[in-house]
Symmetry: C2
Subunit: 375 residues, 2 copies
């Protein structure tokens, strides 16, 4: 349960203006975090203990003796609303990609702590039974869910398909995934203690907006001459570009382990854009010298939302979907292994001793400790 | 992902008439179940395997070597709508109990396979940030969640608190819980192979409607002279009675293990009422000779929905929240241990060789294999 505050300037469309008011959510999150932390002692009844450093990380980790268990539940968010709009316009279902997005939200977080995802459970809460009556859409959701499980090597354990009229809006669906995995052997645990000055920062390309920033993206519609069909690149409409499925990064983290590479830290770049590179609790300076290409849809959003680079990089992934911090001597191999799996990747910078800050040198941007408060 | 079909008769308010149409959901569920089953082989990549018999049971189980891991995600359903109505009428929050209900949905299912619940994740998807701005309600939700975790001895790992305007209705919240546990030692695994003719059926009392049948319960409102405040028993209004929190049964399953008792099978009595006693895949006759007392709110619903006993017992828990099938010689000890924990319990009947059927003798009711199709 993380929190976020971000100033907005006149003329720009910020994340808060897009409808999510963290000032209202934050007090609940803080009280929930405290209450949750206070329950850790119960594990002792069963002879186990939490990995305390995992509180505040992207997945919760418990030491059960021979290995660690990691678990998580993650929400898709509002990307399904774009799929619904595009279905009306194009007459086809976009839920195959939406399924991948939902699983990616859970799996890409779970792997940051060094876990191998094993089981995914589906949470598909519809606004009424009739949602499931659209057979083509339902088939797309099932097919996409299965394909994403295959890509990640996880078993789809089951799930819930409630019809929640009065809670979920008619014609809509609230999608989430829970995921359980093992950190096995235990040396794979990655909760930050290995990170050191001199480590390289490898950034993995994103496929587009992934599943964060969609409220902002939807808010731009009135500004676009042809709405969802406005081109962001030749032949590529805005809606279609937004719906590029989130990349799944667990095949890479598994391949790294198989190659004998243990990341020193990982960060899934989601709701706070590049500020997520500051997630590690320690005091380090992260110096970026090489930027990934910005996917057309994200450059398009930045322009139409009239965001400067600082605001764009603080909100959107801007081409970087996942960060792997690794010993400098292994960075080139990480890039090669990623590319071998079809994932774009580059050595983008270095970890240095110094005050906690992120320096995006090609853009002259600095984010400090105050810019990300997750704990 | 289970399915359900049930005929309705003129004059009565059935579950289908209450707004959930399984004919629309079932094809999706079947295709999802098939797709999910096809993913099990992925576990072999990691050196593990599913417990195939857990497909169709209430939680999914994976063999990871030294023990089994069980996981689940469960939805609260529409009970929160009753809490919202009662909050308007009474000026207080009812979300402390709602939190317990949500955790009970996950924990009471997880324990059926013999698992010790270890970690719960919270999924609280609100219709907008402002939901979390009601401080008293938010505090009640957090306090109830923490208290239920304490009662079950689980660690609250974290969770998601998205604001989903456009997906979740304004002013509402979609609540779910995921739960991960261990079956440790492995002899605790309970997926049906131990059940045998001669076993006793111990029924644990429910506290009321629990969290299944709320759509039906809400549908009755127009028939009630004083709405939510209509008395179901002296001094007890309908709304308040409905909101009695679901009982948590994991303290009992843990206590049974500590006492050296391994249930032969367990069934959480939820959405299909007493037909859930037919959940085991084998062919046995379940003969019930002793009924638990019917909570006033359930008798009230039966009367106002004009349901006969057969329909009521096929839809609602009618006083039985959980069933433990155990060696006959241990049944009295199970009852005593339950009572020591403050849970009502009774030896209600016996498992016999014979065709698959449930005979509720005091009421002259028979449910056959056709009355429950979960797999």
């Amino acid at each position: 349960m993380s929190s976020d505050c971000q100033p907005s300037r006149p003329g720009t469309l910020s994340y808060e203006q897009a409808g999510v008011d963290y000032d209202l959510i934050d007090p609940l999150k803080v009280s929930a975090q405290r209450a949750a932390a206070a329950t850790a002692g119960h594990l002792a009844r069963h002879g186990f203990a939490e990995v305390q450093a995992s509180r505040g990380e992207s997945a919760y980790v418990v030491d059960v003796g021979p290995f660690y268990i990691a678990s998580i539940v993650e929400c898709l968010g509002s990307k399904a609303l774009v799929a619904d709009e595009m279905a009306s316009l194009t007459g086809r279902s976009w839920y195959e990609g939406i399924a991948q997005d939902t699983i990616a939200m859970a799996v890409n977080d779970l792997i940051t702590v060094g876990a191998t995802p094993l089981v995914v459970q589906a949470y598909w809460a519809a606004g009424g039974s009739d949602w499931f009556g659209d057979a083509a859409r339902a088939r797309a959701l099932v097919a996409g869910w299965k394909a994403a499980c295959e890509r990640c090597g996880v078993a789809w354990g089951g799930g819930e398909t409630p019809a929640l009229a009065g809670i979920v809006e008619a014609g809509r669906i609230d999608l989430a995934a829970s995921c359980t995995g093992l950190i096995n052997p235990k040396q794979r645990l990655s909760v930050g203690d290995r990170l050191a000055a001199g480590d390289a920062i490898v950034l993995l390309d994103s496929s587009g907006i992934h599943a964060n920033g969609l409220s902002l993206a939807r808010k731009l519609l009135p500004r676009l001459p042809q709405g969802w069909l406005t081109e962001v690149a030749p032949g590529l409409g805005y809606g279609e570009a937004l719906l590029a499925p989130t990349l799944l990064y667990s095949p890479l983290t598994e391949a790294l382990w198989a190659a004998g590479i243990v990341p020193h830290y990982c960060a899934n770049i989601t709701g706070h854009g590049w500020r997520k590179l500051l997630r590690h609790p320690g005091a380090f300076t992260y110096r970026i010298d090489t930027l990934p290409p910005v996917p057309p849809v994200l450059g398009f959003i930045q322009r139409h939302a009239q965001q400067d680079d600082r605001e764009a990089y603080s909100t959107l992934n801007m081409g970087a979907g996942f960060a792997i911090f690794v010993a400098a001597g292994e960075a080139a191999r990480v890039v090669a292994i990623a590319q071998g799996l079809g994932l774009g990747a580059r050595v983008a910078g270095v970890v240095e001793a110094g005050p906690k800050q992120l320096l995006i040198e090609p853009l002259g941007i600095r984010f400090g400790d105050d810019d990300l408060q997750l704990r």
